[in-house]
């Protein structure tokens, strides 16, 4: 009964979505406010309906209802509750429902926080989002129904893939989708602006907080995915340039470019047309990612089970949504006026150079991901494009962008002076260069890449410090704390986010430069050492989990003679799918991770064991979280809080520095 309610709720949601997609946009075009006012209640109703459907599916999982085909395929009676619920998004149909549910969450949020928008704009935004959800609901109801029944009901479920039975599974997909799907808001804003023909700076101002929030979620989502792969897969890798990883990284790159481009359009009114195109691109890449993962067009470890019908449907959907929006762009964008002009060497110029580099990087990831498909389609052979390609191509494109990251925030708007910038930056450059060249030697090994990474990280931090110091000089206040507090949060946001990248770069550079790995065979009582650390293997014992049996090893770790920790890696067997899995044991630390992974049992209690020492690896994800924190700080800026409280248009508060410049 409950699954049927869920199914019916989806059908109703489709009807509401159709209404929401068509009437308000038409109403805005002809100026009919009755039709326009349909948008808000329609969006909220859709949210409630999809919430109901989601709840019904959750109930079916919680209740172990194996008469629902999807539940039988991805769950099991011995699966613990939290994983049964996470299994909702464990395969194709359920993850689509999650996609749609999160889309309705964003729609609902738009209805809450859009009272300051003109009616026509709001109607168009909700209308566009409604049209997108029509596509997903139609997709689910036609070829991917999560509520399809299995008659007769299966006596037992096929279980969730053991690799997914992990806390990471509970949180990574929802975070990722919040980001991915969140770009639909920026997309809807862009299309609304094109439809309405009004692409003034206000559009950018309204769009910014939505884009930044989505970007924060996506950053966290990707970081979590990477961290999860690190500890779950058992061989210590954290990024493989796998097509599905790339599918989430491309919207991130476009989104980062968009966040910067919106800043230019908001503050200076410049490059509106380019920002609109970026907004369309970011969400288009999200949709493309959805296609790539589910169509079977590329092999990936993350790919869902594929079906050509599904692939065709999504491709058609993609063609309509993206093709339609790019056609709208081609039609309307030429009519948008030009913004203010600025010199090539100016903050705007540098932000746009940042955009060019980020978009080129995104383009290369796309090229590398799709290239095997291109060649195969043209019958020119089958190749693989993997990490060696992406690493060789991505790094050279990003290095200039990272370098510019130090200069951009210090450059003046409209026209920057080179001698002035050189004077302010020469100290930072000197310090960065010297430290970058000498630190690796101090740490024990020198390679050009190591130095380059450290150079960029230190450069970003020193230039941020200079920027902050200059900013503080222009702010009134009696104490340092008072002065720091009066620097606007949007500035802190930028600073923190940029430093987050520096932290990330340090993590990547140090891990790649200094990580060590040891493959040993260990008898009980034997030790192995990496650097200062000694690992003693104290045998294994058999352990029984809720739905698995395992051999759990015990490793005592000591540093310079003192015992520091005990690690318990496991080799698990999940009987339902008869899969064996390695559960690595990690001792995380600020400066290093120790990672132990059991290989295979060899005769008389000995095991093959892999030991890793990974310095600074937690800085990789730490850096990502700091970046997201920066984004969160930026959104909590006073002007947005004031706007929210007063429900007024957000107007930037002029700073004293700006006033002094006018004089």
């Amino acid at each position: 009964m409950i699954p049927e309610i869920g199914h019916f709720a989806l059908i109703l949601a489709l009807c509401v979505a159709l209404v929401q997609g068509i009437l308000p946009i038409y109403g805005a075009a002809v100026g009919n406010s009755a039709l326009m006012s349909v948008a808000k209640p329609a969006a909220r109703t859709q949210f409630l309906l999809v919430l109901t459907a989601f709840g019904c599916l959750a109930y079916a999982f919680a209740d172990k209802d194996f008469s629902v085909l999807y539940v039988a395929a991805t769950s099991n009676s011995q699966l613990p509750l939290h994983y049964r619920l996470a299994a909702i998004w464990g395969a194709h149909e359920g993850s689509l429902l999650l996609w749609t549910f999160i889309l309705t969450i964003w729609m609902f949020a738009v209805t809450l926080f859009s009272t300051h928008l003109p009616d026509a704009m709001r109607s168009r935004i909700l209308g566009v989002m409604g049209l997108v959800s029509v596509g997903f609901l139609l997709f689910m109801l036609s070829v991917s129904n999560p509520f399809e029944r299995l008659i007769p009901a299966a006596p037992e479920g096929r279980d969730l893939n053991p690799l997914l039975q992990d806390p990471g599974m509970v949180i990574h997909p929802p975070m990722l989708y919040m980001g991915y799907v969140g770009f639909s808001v920026a997309f809807a804003f862009a299309l609304a602006a094109l439809l309405g023909g009004n692409l003034d700076a206000a559009w950018a101002r309204w769009s910014r907080p939505w884009t930044t929030v989505a970007w924060c979620f996506l950053t966290v989502g990707i970081a979590m995915g990477s961290g999860w792969a690190y500890y779950e897969l058992g061989w210590g890798g954290w990024w493989f340039w796998d097509p599905v990883e790339n599918a989430s990284f491309m919207p991130w790159l476009a989104g980062t470019a968009l966040v910067h481009s919106l800043a230019v359009t908001d503050k200076r009114g410049g490059f509106k047309v380019w920002t609109v195109l970026l907004a369309i691109m970011a969400f288009s890449l999200s949709l493309l990612g959805t296609f790539l993962v589910r169509s079977g067009v590329l092999t990936s470890v993350h790919a869902f089970a594929t079906d050509p019908k599904r692939g065709l449907f999504i491709l058609a959907f993609l063609a309509i949504v993206i093709g339609g929006s790019l056609a709208l762009y081609a039609w309307r964008a030429p009519k948008v006026g030009l913004g203010g002009s600025f010199a090539m060497l100016s903050r705007e110029g540098m932000l746009l150079a940042n955009n060019v580099l980020l978009v080129a990087a995104m383009g290369s990831v796309l090229l590398g991901t799709l290239y095997p498909l291109f060649l195969d389609a043209l019958d020119l052979g089958k190749i693989s494009v993997g990490p060696p390609y992406f690493d060789s191509v991505f790094v050279p494109l990003m290095v200039p962008a990272l370098f510019l990251m130090g200069i951009g925030p210090l450059a003046q708007w409209k026209k920057a002076s080179v001698p002035d910038l050189a004077k302010r930056l020469k100290w930072a450059f000197g310090v960065s260069l010297v430290s970058a060249l000498t630190l690796p030697i101090v740490l024990g090994s020198w390679t050009p890449l190591l130095s380059l990474g450290l150079l960029l990280a230190i450069w970003i931090v020193t230039t941020s410090a200079i920027g902050l110091r200059e900013r503080l000089a222009h702010v009134n206040g009696n104490s340092l704390v008072e002065r720091l507090a009066s620097v606007p949060r949007s500035y802190w946001g930028m600073l923190v986010a940029h430093c987050g990248i520096a932290v990330f770069i340090v993590g990547v550079t140090m891990v790649k430069g200094f990580e060590t790995e040891k493959d040993v065979r260990m008898n009980v009582g034997e030790t192995a050492s990496i650097g200062d650390y000694t690992f003693r293997f104290d045998g294994t014992q058999d352990v029984v989990g809720p739905n698995y049996t395992a051999a759990r090893g015990t490793f005592h770790v000591s540093q310079d003679g003192r015992e520091t920790t005990v690690l318990y890696p496991e080799k698990r067997r999940y009987p339902v799918q008869n899969q064996v899995m390695t559960e690595a044991a990690i001792d995380p630390g600020l400066l290093r991770d120790l990672y132990v992974s059991l290989g295979e049992p060899i005769d008389d209690g000995a095991w093959s064991v892999r030991l890793y020492h990974k310095p600074f690896i937690d800085w990789i994800w730490g850096g990502c979280f700091i970046m997201a924190l920066g984004g969160a700080l930026a959104i909590s800026d006073r002007r947005y809080r004031l706007a929210w409280r007063k429900q007024e248009p957000a107007v930037p508060v002029p700073t004293r520095a700006a006033r002094r410049k006018v004089a």
């Binding site: 110029g349 746009l352 060019v356 080129a360 190749i383 990490p387 008898n523």
Partner: protein, 153 residues
Amino acid sequence: MKWVMLIILCLSGPAWAGEARPLADDPAAEARLKHLAVELRCLVCQNQTLADSNAPLAEDLRREVREMIAKNMSDQEIIEFLVARYGDFVLYRPPLKATTTVLWVGPFVLMAIGATALVITLRRRSRTVVEVSVTDEEHRRVEQLLAEGEKRS
């Protein structure tokens, strides 16, 4: 004699924490294997490198590569051996040939196109957008307004 046996037995029991042996018989060769295998694709578990995959074919191929290393074949020769049998698909680093020129050159071409487009657009724009300069009168008016605003806030 019994004495000596006893001592030897005591010394060789599990109470003595010995240093674990490396898994591989020849760590130097193993290091070379790893260096090669991380850039090779497992043909069965196609989303893992030859180094990480546990598929039987992967183990067989690693064994082959070890033998080739023992025969002192160069990296290039080992790669050619595998490509002759499995095609370019087995390489994670796409070889530079006529069909992959676009792949390797593309990103830098994109960057160049982007940079050129940026420069051209900015130059064109600075010619078409008319600069409106602010007169002294307008400057004074702005100052006045700001001063009033400060008084109020």
